[in-house]
């Protein structure tokens, strides 16, 4: 056992460093609010259209619902590492841009901490900001325009501590206490080639941090050999302590203005999700989720638009053979799904919604480790009103290591 702990700790260290300095997105829409929200769902959940609020964490870490951790096997230690590579296409009415972004999505582990208590930790991006937009503005009072470039980079990271407790055989309750923190650099560069003026850099840096508590439950009702599950999670409106620094400088002299201040704090609004799942004895799993976010009360300033309350849904089906087959293809788990999410912003009077289809499979290893592959096709945005239509083809790779930590071996 001691042999295997060292690489794990190394990985943990490497990834925690990585998670803080990634470039998770190139989407123009990430310039609004706290950026694009990332799902911390396991790759297997992602294959089912991100549905799984009601599913237990038996063979993988279901980070959607802390209550699921109560279902962990008492001898297992699950370690999950997950990444993705996204091929994105951004279109405006006149231009097109193609991006490739590859990122660590999440890092987590879980184990049984007590008889009725499952525990886990994970590190994942909560939201991401990453964009590079070329624009132009009029010099007011003239017919001249000047180019303005907007760069944004950063996001919010989330370190989560999951706790799931069994209350009787069917009900479990959970709490996820997480620490959110992050830093975002937003730079606006104004050039004046037509009047041979100075170049002005307007750089804003935001630091946010907060604790976020998420509460969940799951209830599993056997129906014959099948199980019908219901689950839900909620997090209350949470204030993000926001520290803000603005520096304005030019290409001639130096700093023109530096402001450091605590600004009006951002809010992560009340949000809740509910889900249903049916797992049959023959290995079929059907899951459906609904999501709501009370973003219009988030006090986010969406320039050129507004924050709105969001609704979303997911639906997914998985087939996993229950019998052991010799063929790896027959042992694999297969899943498909679809999802619809409203993003929390309305820009130029246009609602920004995303919809996608997913597919995925799991290669189970003999020791109980799993390699999860997922594919996702997603569309969001529109080319109307000068906006961007975004198309994503994303491949997710998740590896869940299974260590029999708490099993005493007779032989070595």
């Amino acid at each position: 056992m001691t042999l295997n702990k060292t690489p794990f700790l190394l990985l943990l260290f490497t990834l925690s460093q990585l998670a803080l300095s990634q470039n998770n997105t190139s989407s123009t829409y990430s310039r609004y609010g706290i950026g694009l929200l990332n799902s911390k769902a396991d790759a297997s959940t992602a294959g089912m259209g991100y549905a799984g609020i009601a599913l237990p964490s038996e063979v993988y870490l279901n980070k959607l619902n802390p209550a699921s951790y109560s279902a962990m096997d008492s001898v297992k230690f699950l370690f999950n590492l997950q990444g993705n590579i996204a091929f994105s296409n951004y279109q405006t009415s006149s231009d097109e841009q193609n991006n490739t972004n590859a990122n660590i999505e999440s890092l987590g582990f879980g184990f049984k901490a007590g008889k009725n208590w499952g525990m886990g930790f994970s590190l994942s991006p909560y939201s991401s900001i990453g964009y590079n937009i070329n624009g132009e503005k009029y010099i007011l009072g003239t017919t001249d325009k000047y180019p303005v470039n907007y760069y944004g980079e950063g996001g919010i990271s989330q370190l989560s501590w999951y706790n799931g407790f069994s209350i009787g055989k069917r009900l479990s309750l959970g709490i996820n206490a997480s620490y959110l923190w992050g830093s975002t650099d937003v730079i606006e560069v104004s050039y004046y080639p037509s009047i041979i003026g100075e170049t002005i850099y307007n750089e804003r840096n935001y630091h946010v941090s907060s604790l976020l508590f998420e509460y969940g439950f799951q209830y599993h009702q056997p129906i014959g050999l099948s199980t019908l599950s219901i689950g839900g999670i909620i997090n209350m409106s949470t204030e993000l302590d926001t520290y803000y620094k603005q520096r304005i400088y030019n290409d001639i002299t130096s700093d023109l203005s530096t402001t450091e201040t605590d600004v009006n704090n951002l809010f992560i609004p009340l949000s809740y999700q509910g889900g249903l799942a049916l797992q049959t004895a023959k290995g079929l799993t059907v899951a459906a989720d609904y999501r709501y976010g009370d973003w219009s009360n988030s006090k986010l300033l969406i320039s050129g638009g507004e924050a709105r309350n969001t609704h979303g849904g997911s639906f997914g089906i998985q087939y996993a053979a229950q019998r052991h087959h010799r063929s790896v293809f027959k042992r694999m788990h297969y899943r498909i799904g679809t999802f619809y999410n409203q993003q929390y912003l309305t820009v130029q009077g246009k609602d920004i919604d995303e919809r996608g289809i997913t597919a995925g499979f799991t290669i189970p290893m003999r020791d109980g480790s799993r390699i999860n592959l997922g594919y996702e096709y997603k569309e969001t945005g529109t080319t109307d009103a000068g906006l961007v239509k975004e198309t994503y083809n994303t491949i997710k790779l998740g590896i869940t290591f299974n260590e029999n930590w708490f099993q005493k071996r007779k032989f070595n």
């Binding site: 009029y138 104004s190 590896i399």
Partner: protein, 442 residues
Amino acid sequence: MIMKKHKAWLSSLSFLVIICFSACQEGSLDMADSFVYTSTYTALIDTVTIQLSTIVDTVKTSNTSNALIGYYENPILGGQEAKTYFSLSAPGSFTWDTEKEVFDSLVMVLHPNSYAIGDTTVDAYFKLHKLSETIELNDDGSLYNTNSFSYDATPISTHTFRPYPQAKEEIIMRLDDSFSKSIIDFLNTYKNHTDKYSLFEEEFKGFIVACDTNLSKVALGFEVSDSTSYLRLYSHTIGLEKVENQQTFSLQQTTHFNEIQTHNSDVIYNQLTDKKERLPEQQANGKAILQSGLGHKLRVDLPTINNLLELKAKGHVVKAELRIHPDLDIMETDELPSTLYIGDIYRANEIWGYLSDVNGNALTSNLVIDPIYNEDTYYSFDLTTYINSRLEESIIDADQGLFITIPESQIGSSLTWLCVNGHTITKNKSKLLLYYYYYDIE
């Protein structure tokens, strides 16, 4: 063992996942400006009050290496006359064979520098007089356009010619023969005298070259150096055969200067004589005058500069451009001086120095010509650095202004001029354009 193999495989896979994480981008999005909203903006402010006035100061005209001679009728300033003064030194190597040598002529040679102002289609009438007063330098070792020294009323040479300044054809004025012979006699008489140089300068104080202001309509420029402006003595020796000789007498560089004066003292700009005074545009039909030889400069003040402090608190001037519009109802485009300089000036017209650009060179104007309508013809000065540094001052002194002039090398030896529209008139007025970047400090 099988389990361990799998672990190794998974670990290496995870390692691969880490190292191949990268990002790349192809193409760029130019977003319609409606997409991106930030509260920053850039605005043009062209309503900052500028106050133009005309100021005057004497012009140093010595040591300019250029002589200016002639008369020019300026459409606004009236008649302007330029005369040039030379003094003569006794030649160090004068030789004269009193037995055999015969005097032919003594001429003054002037070499045009191609500068001309006025009407070159009519003849110029130059006159050369003998000075009756020794040229004395002022205490500062210089001579100015206002200095003058007396001379004999009767010229010792006159010359009428059609000017072709671009052809650079030498002007040759033959001096009166009796005067010329008196020089030779003097040099021969005092050949071995220990004080011959000072005695010579006492006797021959120098010359002035002027023009007949009733007939001449042009002022012309000439190069002043040992090789371009001089006296030349022609003679021949009688012997077995006639041998022609020539000798050159240098003119003194240090005492050469141009006297430049107006003939119309009733013109309002010419009544400005106190160098501490200003003639505001409001008292001069909304105009201001720059005039090199008579020492008129433009003064630009920013009486409301303190109001700009409010801009500084919320933003930054990314470009400040001073546009000085010439009055093209009076001037022709080809009369416009090509380059103007700008500098700091204080309350009573104390000049502090020229402004520099970001590279440390003197800040010069850029002449923008509107060839079709003349309406957008103006001199542009980039005052970005100037305005921003003024706004950094703890107390902004509105008495500190700007002066505009032509390059110093041309001032003392030309009648170059510029009439500009002030801020108070409506058509093609001069103005200060401030491009102001507003930044939203949250």
